[in-house]
Amino acid sequence: MLLHALARIGQTLAVLFVVSVASFGLLKLAPGDPVQIMLGSEYSPEAYESLVAEMGLDQPFLVQYAHWALNFVQGDWGTSFVAHTDIFTHAFKEALPVTLTLASFSLAFAILIGVPLGVLSAVKKDTAFDAGAAVFALTGTAFPSFLLGILLIWFFGVKLGLFPVMGYVSPWQDFWTGIYHIILPSLTLSTYFIAMITRLTRATLIEVLEQPYIAAARARGEPNWRVIWVHGVRNIAMPLVTILGLQLGVLLQGTVLTETVFNLPGIGQMLTSAVLGREYAVVQAGVMMTATLFIGVNLLVDLSYPLLDPRLRDRK
C-alpha cells in the first residue's frame, strides 16, 4: 500500500513537472518581446543587450525554466505590468480564496441536494418522482451554467429582489452577508453537480441494493431507513468521491464562468482580464494554480480509497 502511494506521488510530481514546463513555455510562445515592452519604443542596442542578460534571457531554455520554477515555488511570481501589483499576492491571496469559497459552497450544495435526490429516485425507481429527477438530471448536466446564472439573477435578483446580484463579501469576514452573497452563485455552479450526483447516486445505489448484504440486513429486520442510509449509501461513497475528484476540473472551469456572471473577483476574472490585457505571467499563474489544485485533489482522492474501503487497506 505504501508502495502504491509512493508510485502515485511520483506520477503526480511528473505530471506537475510537465504542466509547469508547458506553462513556462506558454510565456515563451506568447507574442511580443518582453524586453521591448519593458524598454518602451526608444532604446539603444546596448541597453537591450544588458536587460536581456539581466533577465537571463540569453541562457538556455532549461536554465531559464529552472530559474523560473525556483522563483515560482518561493512565491516570486513576478509583477503585473498593468496593475503594478505583485502577482502572487493578487492571484494566491486574493483571487484563489474567492474561487475556493465559491467552489466549496457549490460542492456542499451539490452533495447535500444531489445525494438525497439520487437516493430517493433509486428507492422510488420507475415512479413519477424518478422520471422527474431523470429529466432534471439530464437538463441540469447539459444546461450552460452562465445562462442559468443570468436567469437566476433575473428571477431572484430583479423580479423578486431576494438576493444581491453582484459583489462579493468574504464569508470568513462577515459570515451572514457572505453567505447571502454566495447563495446565487453557488446555486448556479452547483446545478450541474447536483444533476450529476443525482444520476450517479441513483445508478450506483440501484446496483448496491441488489447485493446480498442488503438482503441480509433486511432479513435481520433492520428498519428500511437504516438499510438504505447506512448499508446502502455507505457503499456509494467510493464511486462518488472518484467522480467528484475527476469532475473537479469542471467545477474549476465553472467557477470561471460563474465569477464572470456575478462579478466575483476570483481566478476566473483574473484569467479573463489577463488574456484581454495580454498579461501572460498572470495567465500562467492561473493555469498553474488550477492544474496544481486538480492534480493535488486527485492524488488525495486516490490515497483516500483505503480509508473509504477497508478491503483495500491490505492491498500490496
Partner: protein
Amino acid sequence: MTHPDISEPSGHSGAQAIKTTAGRSIFVRRPFFTAALLVALGYVLASVFAPWITPYSPVAQSIDAMMKPPSVAHPLGTDSYGKDILSRVIFGARYALAIGFFSVLIGATGGLVVGLAAGLSGGWVEWVLMRLIDSILALPSLILAVAFIAILGQGVDKVIIAVGLSLIGPFARTVRADVMQVRVQLFVEAAHLMSIPRLKVIWRHILPNVIFPLAVQVTIRISEAILVSSSLSFLGIGVTPPTPDWGLMIAEGRAFVSFAPWMSAMPGFALALLLIALSIVGDGVREEFDPKLRRGA
C-alpha cells in the same frame, strides 16, 4: 462543461436485450433519441439555409428598434443596437455548429495520433506520452482553451484551434484504452507472427477497431466543444463582435438583464436546447454502440 464520464454499472441482461430488440429500429426503441436527433437536424438545416429564412440581416442595426421586446416584427425582440435577435440566433447556429464540428475534428485527429502512439509504444516512450496526456487532462478544457487563446488571440479560427487543441487529451485517453485492448488480440499477434510490416498491421488491424469508438466519442464531444467555445465568447475572449455568436449575445445581454431579459435569454435558450438535444443524442449513441456502457434493458 464536459459530460461526466460516469461509468454506470453495466447490466447483466445486455446480451439478451440485444436479442429481443434487434429487429426494431433504434428510432422506434428510443423516442427521446429520435426527437433529439430531429431537433439537432433542425439546427443544421437552419444554419444551412440561414440567409433565406432570416427576416433581417444579423448585423443590420436600427435606431428605431432598439431593445424592443418580442413582437410580430421581431419575434425574439431586438438588442441594444436594434439588431433582430431571431436572425442573429439563426446565424449563430452556423457559428456554433461549425466551431463545434471543426474543433472536434482537430481534437479527434490529434487524439488519434497521440493515443495510437501511446498505446503502441512501450517502455519510457509510453510513460512519457501518458504523463503528457495526464497533464493535458489536468487542466479543464475551458482553462486550457483560455491559455491557447492567450497565445493565439481572438477570432472564429482561433477559437476552433484553441478548443480543438484542448480536446486532444480526452480523445487520446480513449484511443489509447482501445488500442491497449486491440493490440493483445489474437489476430494482431497472428499478423505479427506472419511478419506483416508493423505499419500495415496498424493500418489494417488496429486502426479499424479504434476508429469506430472514436466516432462515438466525436458525437458525444461536439456538445462539449460548442459549450466551451460559447463560454469563451461569453467571457469576452472568444469570437469578436459583431459576429452573431450565442455566447457573445448572452454576454451583451447580461448588462441589460433587468429591463431586457430576452437579449440574453433567447440566444441562451437556443444554446441550451441544442446542448440538451446533443446530449440526448450522444447518450443514445453511446448506449447503443459502446458495449462497455450498455445497460441492462
